[in-house]
Amino acid sequence: MSGMTLNSINRKGPVKATAISATDVAVEITRVNKWYGEFQVLSDVNLRVMRGERIVVAGPSGSGKSTMIRCMNRLEEHQEGRIVVDGIELTSDLKRIDEVRRDIGMVFQQFNLFPHLTILENCTLAPIWVRKIPKKQAEERAMHFLARVKIPEQAHKYPSQLSGGQQQRVAIARSLCMNPRIMLFDEPTSALDPEMVKEVLETMVTLAEDGMTMICVTHEMGFARQVANRIVFMDGGRIVEQNTPAEFFDNPQHERTRMFLSQILN
């Protein structure tokens, strides 16, 4: 399993199970369909994520993984079905969308830091303008999270002066500054050099240990096995199989899953 050994994280065994709520639903997706023109990207997707759960979404490219999580904060809109986040249903109501987005953090493959602002300003922009927190307080909070992702000394630099791994950790800190209840990760390590993948994954593991509800689209199977409570496997816009990491890797139920695993792990 090269994928696992290459980026194995310096910790033993899976992340300790934090309390997963049995009743508190974080995200509920019901019979969602979505098309790009004629092409159906999501077909009949059903997924329930409980608070405190850590979900890894895997699957070949073009299987609809990114589209699904981008629907959760309505960067993409679904045409049929219901998506309820934190008890708020996502419709075309802009006010509600902004309300949901405030409480969901998202980390992108391309980092998407704001190049015209310093690292600190990147982290304080939304807290100041959206949450209306006083600047000084926002800066203190930003420094706290920058310290947590281990780059407080870069606070006054600009994104272009940082390495990819550092930029992605800033992106995580920037999301955390909004005190999100759920974090979405859209292939956070796919654009990184191999040696930088580890530092970002470690940051994500720390976050998992703190009990954050996380939904990650990733190809890092080592991370999935260590951190996820559940792995969701998608293909052709459908959820083919979902299971615990142990079952998913050692006893896959579907032929398509077995094929995917044999390709990704060898």
């Binding site: 904060n73 960067l75 802009l94 902004d98 309300e99 987005r101 405030r102 969901i104 953090g105 998202m106 992108f108 391309q110 998407n112 830091l113 704001f114 190049p115 015209h116 922009l125 939304a126 303008w129 959206v130 600009y158 272009s160 002066q161 992106a171 920037r174 999301s175 909004m178 979405l184």
Partner: protein
Amino acid sequence: MISRTRLHGLVFVATATAIVMWLSFNFSANLAARGMTIDFGFLSAPTSFPIGESLIAYSSGDTYLRALTAGLLNTIHLALSSIVLATVFGIAVGLAARIGHPLLTSAAKTYVEFTRNVPLLLILVVCATAVRGLPAPRQAWILFDGVILSSRGLYLPMPVFSGGWALGIAAVILASTTSVVWKWSLRGRSRLGSFPFASRISLTFCVAGFASLVVWICLTTSMDWPRLTAFNFRGGWSVTPEYLAMMFGLGFYTSGFIAEIVRGSLAAIPKGQSEAAASLGLSTLLSLWLVQAPQAIRLTLPPLANQYLNLIKNTTLAVLIGFPDLVSVGNTALNQTGRAIETVSIYLLIYLSLSLITSMIIRRLERRAQVVKL
């Protein structure tokens, strides 16, 4: 043995010198054949024509230099107001095309296509015809209290400052003191984390200074309202119908191009930027203001400079509808004195300087708008 590049350089310089020498020889030979000389002496001679409108006092019989200066000031006045108009409309339409309701977007696109695809001359003819249709002073349209539009032009109330020089000097002193105090206070803040006591006191004095300046201005300023006399309005600030036609024509035409520049620059910002802003909960407007616009402005400036330069040069079309700009006044001077080469070289020098000044200003802005500061 000389190197190849050096040889190429020498050949180029030799050819260029030969061409310039041939042109200047030709020029002086032709002048001599016609018995002409180059002489700017006519500038101090008295004119025998009036100018429709002027920002400085001018009447028939003043020197040609004064007439041309009046024309130049008209050109600058027209160019500046058209630039402001074009920029305001351009930005509004460009933003509408980018973030508006689908209906607004298609309206903006129609506006852009219309302004871009109708020749400027045609737009100016339409505007000139339109201002001829304005009502006589007695039937004038009163748009707001004191804002009057009629066949005599647009009249606005004008503030009259009677504070005089003392007011101006006080304002300059106050502004420069404040700027020094502010810079000093910022240094203090970055050292101590908050404004030191001394700078808080000085800043309070500055604010008090500004407040008293405003009070002073309010006490010494009166408004001059335009009033109807027998055949026209008097008082206030006014512009002629020809000026209005030129300003709206140029502003309208150029705004379409500026709208497209604004739309294009915003479209060039990677989609990830607005997605990141949205995922942080920033509304569309906040995302535009805080994230997209600061990055787009750097892309906007170079093509914007092109549009401003075009607009300045297009003011010369004022000849067509009888607005006395530099070329219009200059052509009259040329007809009366026969000093063609002198007049045209004055045009050349002035438009070149205006364009260079504009580019210089935009360059400075560009440097300030650099995204990545290192």
